[in-house]
């Protein structure tokens, strides 16, 4: 039995018919073909699927799609400005070598965004806590932490 949901995706209203068991990640990747959000584990353990729901970082792989009804979802595709300029966090990640294989990157950037939106001046410990749910196997995190610190200092 399909159900219709309406929500706001990256600033645009979306109406879509879905099977009720669908996760938000499946909705984004399979139904809407927005593959910027990654699936790293499907069990809510790695953070690769992180998106923002009303500004808060969530693991979309274990989040029921039905529950985004009427709410705001932001994905990696939605954080550049209207002219298509990269978000300062994206720029900082690029400039600090915070990206190697890049599979964790979209989720990592969104966790960083949720953190900085809520707390524009986080301490290093707060940065580490803010991305603790996002696993990265390539970088050892240090350049990611530096990238986030630098955004903090710029704003």
């Amino acid at each position: 039995m399909k159900q219709t949901i309406t929500f706001n995706l990256n600033g645009e209203p979306v109406e879509v018919e879905i099977e009720p068991h669908l996760t938000l990640l499946q909705l984004l990747r399979d139904k809407l073909e927005m593959t910027g959000t990654k699936e790293g584990c499907g069990m809510g353990e790695c953070g690769a699927c992180t998106v923002l729901l009303d500004g808060k970082a969530i693991n979309s792989c274990i989040f029921p799609a039905l529950e985004v009804e009427g709410r705001n979802v932001t994905t990696i595709e939605g954080i550049m400005d209207s002219q298509g300029n990269l978000h300062p966090i994206q720029k900082s990640f690029i400039e600090h070598g915070a990206i190697q294989c890049g599979f964790c990157t979209p989720g990592m950037i969104l966790s960083a965004k949720a953190l900085l939106d809520e707390n524009p001046n986080p301490s290093e410990e707060e940065i580490r806590n803010g991305i603790a749910g996002n696993l990265c196997r390539c970088t050892g995190y240090l350049q990611i932490i530096q990238a986030i610190k630098t955004v903090r200092e710029q704003t």
């Binding site: 990747r29 073909e33 927005m34 593959t35 910027g36 959000t37 990654k38 699936e39 790293g40 584990c41 499907g42 069990m43 353990e45 790695c46 690769a48 994905t75 990696i76 595709e77 550049m80 990269l86 994206q90 990640f93 690029i94 400039e95 600090h96 070598g97 990206i99 190697q100 294989c101 890049g102 599979f103 964790c104 990157t105 979209p106 950037i109 940065i127 580490r128 806590n129 991305i131 603790a132 749910g133 996002n134 696993l135 990265c136 196997r137 390539c138 970088t139 050892g140 995190y141 240090l142 350049q143 990611i144 932490i145």
Partner: protein, 768 residues
């Protein structure tokens, strides 16, 4: 060398962001998970639940009838494809399963859910066989045979011991032992750890109307994978058909993609059967239990020294758990030989290793390729031996440190060698003399490493090809055989070409993803890409530059040797006013009667040697060295280890891109800290018990210490602009450095990895 040091570089040595970073930061990069072809089917695999069993029957009738299912394959209805370098593995197993990851059946369906449902409908009857999980038991007479047809030894009898006689002898170990003032003998154990690439394994196989195969793959060995798949096509009756390997963006490699796997052959077979593209992507659980981890080993090691701390001998016996099939894990002893023979100066060396079949998961290459296992034993024991001799381990290491020009017992010809500088740097940063030997719960330790830094001739060729062409506007297309899996090959190669050619980094596009257009390469292994692909790219750039200067010489009325290119301008060295924009020269070359394309190819195969029958030879053109130093705090109540400081000093030859290089060092060291302290794939009766990130603990951002990377530049005369490899070294000395620091902190020596709080507590209790 002097000339290199003197030069001012524009692109080399600069912190240039990774070429594909923006694609990745915006979610636009296409990984295998993101690839969807028209009409694509989804493949799923049924694995054995038993570590060792006879297959009595497989009933696939229900699965076949499920709407949406397009093909069901078992080991009984596929051609006899064999793969792995020992050719003991098949895509789907018939008659018998030998491990819990054995592929028994596979389906292709119109969506992943139907494929999953179909898998559940397949009924397999097994007769359970006695299994063996301990390699020492598996070596005993009467142990269950994993491959009954596998014969070995002089009598050619059935055995679980592989016919891989790893044996390196140099000098006289027995005599040296007798003459040693001190001898340490220990047994170390290392267990399975796994790559944990954030992007799971996967592929899409597609046949065209003529039965040529396009394989979208995550691979570190495009050219060798192409050969493997071509061989499979031949077995399928498709001899002479072509294979094209296209790499999607790779979500991490670390050695895991150095071989071809059952799931890839299964996708090929399903695609051929259904005439549709077939995609197989692993779940995270599959990634944990059905990919091949680092080789576990039981290491018996003895080392001796003179009264004044000169190493006299090193004697190592090793038993490696091969698992049920054979991949590159079984050849890791060829790399373990390197630190065993050549880390520090040790005149007499013996190393004997046996690989043994068991009913466990089979093993593969993982960052360092055996080196971290061997170095853990060697450099932990260096501290033990130093203590016996009453010598500070820092002095002990300095006394035995490798030096330039040395020829090691394995016949490695050491070129540049910055080991002493690395040891000194670490000692200084840790304030060694001040801080060592407190035994108050805080301690410091160090360990060193050697690794191939100038390629490694493990195959007949260690080569890599490059093709460069330049268009009308000065865009430089570099087609390289190299593979980028995140480490930055795409960027480092662009920097080398830009430097050599005198163009800007943004003018260079590196293409590395398609065997139909990219030249041959032996693969992204052995930390060889910067060195080998870099030298190859530089060679091609030199040839292209010559062509440009020939064309420019005519239009500028100068001799080519008097011309130079810098920042997209060709100019006369004697008269800089005599100049022309590069684009204009290039267009002139095209829009001229009798014009020419500006393009060149270059194949670089380093002057290194295959190991001979005694496993000796100059495996690499140059060697990479490094030393890690750690300060830890150990909680005596809980056994918990906290890393307070971490110094990683590496002789890198020359940092082509210091930012990406630091990323390799940080990433390697953090993976190494996991190896030392937290990571362990737990196998119980052959089954992986922790196939998820909750129970298999890789470090998070909260767990990682700040790491100070110290770059020692020795300007290797053979490296591209002086560079050596750095992909693996960051992981190699981590575990022994931490183990040594723990000993310094609380006086307990842990000899098996990972060093968990439980092991420390137990050792502390036993000490009391």
């Amino acid at each position: 060398m002097g000339e290199i040091a003197m030069q001012e570089f524009i692109n080399v040595g600069k912190r240039i962001p990774k070429a594909d970073a923006a694609e990745k930061a915006t979610g636009k990069a296409i990984y295998i998970q993101d690839l969807k072809l028209p009409g694509m089917l989804y493949g799923k695999i049924l694995y054995s639940p038993h570590p060792h069993a006879r297959i009595l029957s497989i009933d696939t009738s229900k699965a076949e009838k499920l709407p949406g299912v397009k093909a069901v394959l078992t080991g009984y209805n596929i051609p006899p494809i064999k793969f792995g370098f020992y050719k003991d593995n098949t895509p789907l197993k018939a008659h018998k399963v030998r491990s819990c990851r054995d592929e028994v059946a596979a389906v292709a369906a119109i969506d992943p859910e139907i494929a999953e449902e179909a898998i559940d409908l397949i009924k397999v009857e097994y007769e359970i066989l006695p299994a063996v999980f301990d390699p020492e038991e598996a070596m005993q007479e009467g142990a269950p045979l994993i491959h009954e047809e596998h014969l070995g030894g002089k009598e050619k009898k059935p055995t679980n011991v592989l016919n891989l006689p790893w044996r390196l002898v140099a000098g006289d170990v027995e005599e040296a032992r007798k003459n040693s003032a001190y001898v340490a003998e220990d047994r170390f154990k290392v267990t399975w750890v796994t790559h944990c690439c954030m992007g799971t394994s996967g592929c899409v196989a597609q046949f065209d109307l003529k039965n040529n195969l396009t394989m979208y793959a995550n691979t570190q060995i495009p050219s060798l994978a192409q050969r493997d798949f071509t061989e499979a096509l031949t077995t399928m009756g498709l001899s002479g058909k072509k294979v094209r390997v296209i790499k999607t963006t790779i979500g991490g490699g670390f050695g895991s993609k150095l071989d071809t796997y059952a799931f890839e052959y299964i996708a090929i077979l399903l695609a051929y059967r259904t005439r549709k593209p077939v995609k197989i992507v692993f779940t995270r659980e599959e990634e944990f239990f059905a990919t091949s981890p680092r080789q576990p080993a039981i290491i018996d090691i003895a080392q001796g020294c003179t009264k004044d701390g000169k190493l006299t001998f090193r004697d190592v016996k090793m038993i490696l758990d091969n698992g049920a099939y054979t991949s590159w894990g079984a050849t890791t002893p060829s790399v373990m030989m390197m630190p065993i023979s050549s880390l520090y100066k040790v005149p007499n060396v013996r190393y004997i290793a046996k690989c043994v079949y068991t009913n466990n998961t089979y093993c593969q290459a993982m960052r360092g390729y055996g080196n971290p296992q061997a170095t853990f034993a060697i450099d932990s024991q260096i501290d033990i031996l130093a203590e016996m001799a009453g010598i500070d381990p820092l002095d002990f290491r300095l006394r035995n440190a490798n030096t330039p020009g040395e020829i090691t017992p394995q016949n490695f010809k050491v070129q540049t060698c910055g080991l002493r500088e690395c040891i000194d740097a670490v000692a200084q940063k840790l304030d060694w003399r001040q801080n060592r030997g407190r035994r108050d719960g805080r301690g410091i330790g160090m360990a060193s490493m050697i690794h191939v830094g100038g390629g490694a001739r493990v195959y007949k060729s260690d080569g890599c090809g490059t093709i460069i062409k330049i268009d009308d506007f000065g865009t430089v297309n570099v087609f390289t055989g190299a593979t980028d899996m995140g480490q930055g090959a795409d960027t480092v190669i662009a920097q080398i070409v830009a430097e050599e050619l005198g163009v800007r980094i943004e003018d260079v596009v590196v293409i590395h993803t398609d065997t139909d257009v990219c030249p041959w390469d032996v693969g992204a292994h052995a930390s060889r890409t910067t060195f080998v692909a870099g030298n190859s790219a530089r060679g091609a750039a030199r040839k292209v530059k010559e062509q440009i200067l020939e064309v420019a010489a005519k239009s500028l009325g100068e001799q080519p040797e008097n011309l130079e290119i810098r920042d997209r301008v060709v100019f006369s060295k004697g008269d800089p006013e005599k100049k022309s924009p590069l684009g204009k020269i290039l267009r002139a070359s095209h829009y001229t009667t009798g014009g020419r394309m500006i393009m060149a190819e270059y194949f670089y195969d380093p002057q290194n040697e295959n190991l001979d029958r005694e496993f000796k030879g100059n495996l690499s053109v140059t060697y990479a060295y490094g030393t890690h130093g750690v300060e830890v705090a150990v909680d005596k109540e809980t056994g918990e280890v906290k890393i307070l400081r971490y110094i990683a000093a590496h002789d890198v030859g020359k940092a082509i891109n210091p930012m990406l290089l630091e990323g390799q060092v940080y990433g390697g060291a953090v993976m190494g800290i996991g190896y030392a302290l937290t990571e362990r794939l737990i196998l119980q009766n052959g089954k992986v018990m922790n196939p998820n990130f909750l129970d298999y603990k890789i470090l998070t951002a909260k767990d990682v210490p700040n790491i100070e990377a110290i770059v020692v530049e020795t300007e290797d005369p053979f490296g591209p602009f002086g560079a050596k490899g750095i992909g693996e070294p960051g992981l190699v000395p981590t575990a022994p450095a931490i183990a040594n620091a723990i000993y310094d902190a609380v006086g307990v020596r842990i000899k098996d990895l990972p060093i968990t709080p439980e092991k420390i507590l137990k050792a502390l209790k036993e000490k009391k």
